[in-house]
Subunit: 156 residues, 2 copies
Amino acid sequence: MNPILRILERTDGSVTSIIEALTGERAKIKTIEQKVIGASPEIAEKLNINEGDEVNFRVVDIFSAGIRFARAVSYTPLKRLDESFKRDLMSADIPVGKIIRKYKLEVRREINWSCIKENELGKCLVRNYSIIHRGEVLINITESFPFSAFDGLRWE
Amino acid sequence: MNPILRILERTDGSVTSIIEALTGERAKIKTIEQKVIGASPEIAEKLNINEGDEVNFRVVDIFSAGIRFARAVSYTPLKRLDESFKRDLMSADIPVGKIIRKYKLEVRREINWSCIKENELGKCLVRNYSIIHRGEVLINITESFPFSAFDGLRWE
């Protein structure tokens, strides 16, 4: 696996910052799907909320320099968001890491698992982590990084 | 500048995790210097404390796979540390990022500046950032990353 993917597998920092460092260009988000759902038992457990609680479900692709570097599928309990964060998350194409920096939230990222698998983007590094704020899961994210996007990169 | 250095310049995550991802081996810290000092006017301003307040000054080198990847010079106001964090910082060779994860601290990293310059390690990327916890500077760190350590890396 190339060293950038090894870094993305383990980092507890913003993935968007890493992608922007690679290309030298701003990352852009394309929202594929975004809706509010009631938490299933599985999601309720993952987020430590009650079944049926409102959750924002968001699927976005992260592009930079015209390359799709990642797809991120996230679940966010609405009751843990303040209004401005919620507005940015639900109606604007802003990466989560940037929203967190914008509002100067203090967080930690807890990586739950990672693996290599084929999905709709081809062969990918896939990892799941939670962003924790005030001791609670603010967001649970599953990111897929297609090998093809990173294999095209070369050292200068 | 090679892509790993570009990532290190911008990341708001743990530098140790990135170095460990590169080598596949645990990072080790070698403490070069560690002492408690009274804050000078400049340090007091940087940390938002009073002149003369006690500050831990620490210089460490970060090694992995036998390579020195970074030197980190840090200033930490002692009054903002709880006892266990203080003990790990002052008497154990543990990277700051690992101490933060160990105690599950929620933080944000605010990057203040970066530049390329020659210092005692040769030509380096140098950056300064603060780790913020509960709205206060917990640590201010200046990291030097010698180009020579990273230029030796190759894609697999």
